[in-house]
């Protein structure tokens, strides 16, 4: 279900951004919209070249949010693909119920260390597919584990 996937990706991605690059948080809603709309219609990136009373055409800063969103989506899709595995199914259910911002007070056990290890493995694998450095891949994977392991906010 694409809508559910988008919601989960958006929510997880937000948590990752707030941890890793909080300065990009004000831009997050627009980036998510662009990211999710990119599959249907490619949006044009805005530019400042020769804008009236603008500052001028400067170099673009490197944004990590698109990378994080790509990682989050591929991570989730990888989790879904491994849903046949019992442990992974449990992770999926846990994530759906314990999404940050979700107010259902699920009284369920947290993820086991085995499940977290599984999550980390998937995360690391997906991170490496992004052509980023080993350290950054590890950072992403750890951040994802951290998000999923964190107790739900009441």
């Amino acid at each position: 279900m694409p809508d559910e996937t988008d919601e989960i990706v958006g929510t997880l991605g937000r948590e990752l951004v707030s941890q890793l690059v909080p300065e990009e948080l004000p831009l997050y809603p627009s980036m998510v919209s662009q990211f999710q709309g990119a599959k249907r219609a490619r949006g044009r990136k805005a530019s400042s070249d020769d804008q009236l009373l603008g500052f001028g055409a400067a170099e673009a800063l490197t944004m990590l949010t698109p990378v994080i969103l790509s990682f989050t989506r591929s991570f989730w899709e990888a989790l879904v693909a491994q849903a046949a595995h019992d442990s992974m199914q449990g992770v999926l259910e846990y994530v759906k119920v314990h999404l940050p911002g979700c107010h259902e007070a699920a009284a369920g056990p947290p993820l086991t260390s085995g499940q977290l290890q599984l999550v980390r493995t998937v995360a690391e694998r997906e991170a490496h597919r992004l052509n980023i450095s080993e350290a950054q891949a590890g950072l992403l994977a750890d951040a994802m584990v951290g998000v999923l392991a964190a107790p739900p906010v009441s």
Binding site: V21, P22, E23, E24, L25, P26, L27, Y28, P29, S30, M31, Q34, G43, K45, A46, S47, S48, D50, Q51, L52, L53, G54, F55, G56, A57, A58, E59, A60, L61, T62, M63
Partner: protein, 916 residues
């Protein structure tokens, strides 16, 4: 990570004096108004001008326009059908033609006004909705403090630091460049911050501050309304004028010469576009300077230096609205670009001023009756913007560079002159003449246009240099100060001068339109230059505008000098030394003036001698020759006065020496006219100095050449005007010569003597050449229509009579016919002397006649004020069996003019014993 700060700003003198090693201080950048503020108004004016022309052309393509064109032809033909004779009659006929078509032309004018009204409403609407449009098009979202309170707080801190009013902060999240832009409308200010800038607030806080302060600098510099109003007008012009015009050019056959219209519209649009871009680029420098003022430790320089280099041919830079980052970074360290202007600035000012005045005049003529005042008002309106823009630019440049003239001011003047010259050529009205280049491809048309451009450029080229000198006079104190009050005074002066000058240029442009088709004929006329120079200067000097211009050029710098005159530091005045000091200073002036007067005396004598030796008496007898001679001699006197003034400007070392030189020109010219009067008086008595007679009549010796007295003041004005054109160049030349000689103080005696000798030799050579030319030039179109006898004496049967100058004897069998040459004056007059042998007993009676004496013989004198349409005076006398009939005829209105001639001739009558 944080970019390196370029370091603190150079230490600045609070009073604005440049710091060591820098051309100006950041603190002083805003001491004077930005040079682009008035240029925004100029830009808007350019669009309005273009619209006037475009709507006029569009109207011409409508059926009403075609009907108006036909009506103009019909009215003109009807008015000229009676073949009016003489200038005044033709002028009356053309006035009637104008009245005939006035109603239809008024409709044309109202259409144009309606078009401008539509343009104005559309501009206002675009201006009003622009903020909404930008928010929608750029996907801007409100930037609140919800996601990042630190960001919101920082933005407000910067806003307070910049001292601007409330700002609505917006976010352009998908723009990852470190950027921002400001926009808004009246009382609403928006700053859109890019996603990259938001991120930079954490990663590169100094760069973030610089970018945001830059945008707040635009708000602080009042760029929002000017920029977006100019843009709104531009877009309205495209939609409401250019597009309809393009459609008509493609589909309509009513628009006359499409190529002529097409290139003009393209040029107009290009002028507006390039002017817009240049203004916007200049505003970026000012906004950067504002950042440096608000935050001396700003990292703006490093951020600008890090902007990607812009590639492409230099000419394509004119299409940018931002200068390169590297140029902007350099301007932070050396703000010279904020002060300088050059050729293109002058060109834009000149073109817009001339075109605007032309378009405005055309509109006035359509709506109202043509009048001198109606034509002057548009020139004053557009000169206001141009004069202010030019004055501010030159004031700033002088404030930066100080000291004396530089080549840059001449570049501005060159652009200004060329702009004023080509402005009327670009207007749409000129295309209908089809005689002016480049619409006409004849060689003569191009030659005439080239001469026009050279002359007009020559006239206007020195204006920026003068403004620079005025600025110097006002800004010079113990230290250089902005002198804003003086700048306003100078701007008013420039406004007046430009308005008068542009109005004259537009009036003279009709000569280009007239001459272009007959260029070859005109240029073959060897006296073309003298005639046009003389009569142009003659009439120009007699206009109120000329007096006002001279007054401006003397009053403005003088006021500056007085305002800045330093009091002695001790507070005590050394009154004993002051008169001696003033005498010392005045001595060179007095000597120069005396030299000028002596030169005039010599030149008038040489000229008279050359005329007597070289020109045939019968030609010198002609009234045209005499008039030309006096006029050309007057111009020669003025030329001597100007040369003397140029020498004064080049050699005197006072403050305001160039302004003093204007006075020198006027004084020497006035004294020169007095010399001419003295020369004429002398010539009335002493034959070698008489232009007309070999032996002048004794009665003329008491003659009063007081008719020259009214020429004194205009000659002084004309000399001052010409001096105004040339004195800055002479002053600059003197400085260059002194610099090359390595002179830092007063030159030695031998050097001074050599310079005076050289100047004197040049003056003598020039005036001698002119003195030799004047007699020949005066003979142009002066042809005797008959004989002048022996030094005017004509013999008849038993009598002699002396012709008055400009009267000739025409050979006729049986009677003597004396005729006044009215070829150019249009005043006919003749004196017929016939004789008849009669019986000694014949008695002659004439009703109403009275007895007079004709050289001792009684004669009957009768006056018939209106006999068959003529004013007739008759003498009848009998002597030695011969009856003499002397009959004078002229038009009644001309009798008063010819009466002195007649009296002189009759008084010269005397009987002799000779027979014919």
């Amino acid at each position: 990570m944080s970019p390196e700060s370029p370091g603190p700003a150079p230490a600045a003198d609070p009073a604005g004096r440049p710091a060591d090693g820098s051309a100006g201080t950041r603190g002083s950048v805003f001491a004077l108004p930005a040079r682009t503020s008035f240029r925004f108004a100029l830009l808007i004016a350019a669009v309005v001008i273009s619209s006037v022309m475009v709507y006029g052309a569009i109207y011409g393509a409508t059926p009403r326009g075609a009907a108006l064109a036909a009506l103009i032809r019909v009215c003109q033909a009807r008015a000229l059908a009676p073949h009016p004779n003489g200038l005044s009659a033709v002028a009356r006929a053309l006035g009637q033609a104008r009245g005939c078509r006035a109603g239809a032309e008024r409709v044309d004018g109202l259409w144009v006004l309606l078009g401008i009204g539509v343009l104005g409403v559309l501009s206002g609407a675009i201006y009003w909705v622009q903020p909404w449009w930008y928010r929608r098009r750029m996907h801007l979202t409100p930037l609140t403090g919800d996601e990042s309170p630190a960001l919101a707080d920082r933005l407000e801190q910067l806003r307070e630091r910049a001292g601007t009013g409330p700002v609505t902060w917006l976010l352009q999240p998908l723009n990852f460049q470190l950027s921002a832009f400001a926009f808004g409308r009246f009382r609403r200010r928006f700053v859109a911050v890019s996603g990259g800038a938001v991120v930079a607030q954490s990663r590169q806080p100094a760069a973030f501050d610089a970018v945001v302060l830059h945008e707040l600098g635009h708000i602080r510099n009042r760029d929002i309304d000017q920029t977006y109003l100019a843009m709104a007008v531009w877009w309205a012009f495209i939609v409401a004028a250019l597009l309809p015009m393009a459609g008509l050019l493609i589909f309509s056959r009513q628009l006359g010469s499409p190529p002529g219209l097409l290139w003009r519209v393209v040029v107009l649009a290009l002028i507006v576009y390039l002017l817009r871009n240049s203004i916007l680029r200049a505003r970026e420098f000012d906004a950067d300077a504002r950042v440096a003022e608000l935050d001396p430790d700003t990292s703006l320089g490093a951020v600008l230096a890090g902007l990607p280099a812009r590639r492409g041919w230099r000419v394509l830079h004119m299409g940018w609205v931002h200068p390169s980052g590297q140029d902007r970074a350099a301007a932070l360290l050396d703000p010279a670009p904020l002060y300088r202007c050059g050729f293109w600035d002058g060109l834009a000012v000149g073109v817009v001023a001339a075109m605007g005045a032309e378009a405005g005049q055309e509109l006035v003529y359509l709506l109202l009756t043509a009048s001198a005042i109606g034509g002057l008002v548009p020139a004053f309106i557009f000169a206001l913007f141009s004069g202010a823009a030019l004055t501010v630019a030159m004031w700033r440049m002088q404030f930066l560079e100080g000291g004396t003239l530089t080549a840059r001011r001449w570049a501005v003047g060159l652009g200004l002159g060329i702009g004023v010259a080509i402005g009327p050529v670009i207007t749409l009205e000129t295309v209908y003449d089809q005689g002016v280049a480049p619409d006409s491809l004849h060689t003569g048309a191009f030659i005439v246009l080239a001469i026009w451009v050279v002359l007009v450029t020559f006239i206007f080229m020195s204006v920026p240099a003068w403004i620079g000198r005025w600025a110097d006079a006002w800004q010079q104190r113990e230290r250089r100060v902005p002198a804003r009050g003086g700048m306003i005074v100078a701007a008013v002066g420039t406004w007046v001068v430009l308005a008068i000058g542009i109005d004259l240029v537009l009036a003279w442009f009709t000569s280009v339109e007239e001459y272009a088709p007959d260029a070859k004929t005109v240029l073959d006329d060897k006296s073309f230059l003298e005639q046009n120079w003389t009569f142009s200067g003659y009439y120009a000097a007699r206009t109120v505008g000329a007096w006002v211009v001279c007054l401006v050029f003397i009053a403005v710098p003088l006021a500056g000098y007085i305002a800045g005159h330093r009091r002695p530091a001790s507070g005590l005045r050394d009154t004993a030394r002051k008169p001696r000091v003033w005498l010392e200073r005045c001595r060179p002036l007095i000597l120069i003036c005396l030299a000028g007067v002596v030169t005039v005396i010599a030149v008038t004598l040489v000229t008279a001698a050359v005329a007597r030796a070289h020109i045939a008496p019968a030609i010198r007898w002609n009234g045209v020759y005499f008039t030309n001679f006096l006029l050309f001699e007057e111009q020669m006197v003025i030329l001597v006065a100007v040369i003397v003034a140029l020498i004064a400007a080049a050699t005197l070392t006072y403050a305001l020496s160039d302004t003093i030189a204007i006075a020198v020109a006027a004084i020497v010219a006035a004294l020169g006219i007095l010399v001419m009067m003295g020369s004429l008086t002398l010539g009335n008595c002493v034959a070698p100095f008489n232009l007309t007679y070999n032996h002048p009549p004794a009665s003329d010796c008491t003659g009063d050449p007081g008719f020259m007295a009214p020429h004194i003041f205009p000659a002084a004005i004309e000399a001052a005007l010409i001096g105004i054109l040339l004195i800055p160049a002479a002053h600059y030349t003197g400085i260059l010569v002194a610099r090359r000689s390595g002179l830092t103080g007063r030159p030695g005696l031998s050097a001074r003597a050599l310079r005076w000798l050289a100047a004197g030799a040049v003056a003598v050579a020039v005036t001698a050449g002119i003195a030799l030319r004047v007699p020949d030039a005066s003979a142009h179109r002066a042809q005797p229509i008959g004989s002048i006898g022996q030094d005017g004496w004509v013999n008849g049967t038993g009598y002699e009579i002396r012709l008055f100058p400009n009267w000739y004897q025409i050979t006729r069998p049986g009677y003597t016919l004396l005729v006044n040459d009215g070829t150019f004056s249009g005043i006919p007059g003749d004196l017929v002397i016939s004789t008849e042998a009669i019986s000694p007993k014949t008695i002659v009676r004439v009703r109403g006649a009275r007895l007079v004496l004709l050289d001792g013989e009684r004669a009957l004198y009768s006056v018939f004020p209106n006999y068959k349409g003529y004013y007739t005076v008759q003498w009848i006398t009998i002597r030695n069996g011969i009856e003499y009939f002397i009959t004078f005829n002229t038009r009644p209105i001309d009798y008063t003019t010819l009466a002195p001639n007649l009296t002189a001739m009759i008084n010269s009558w005397h009987w002799n014993a000779t027979s014919s």
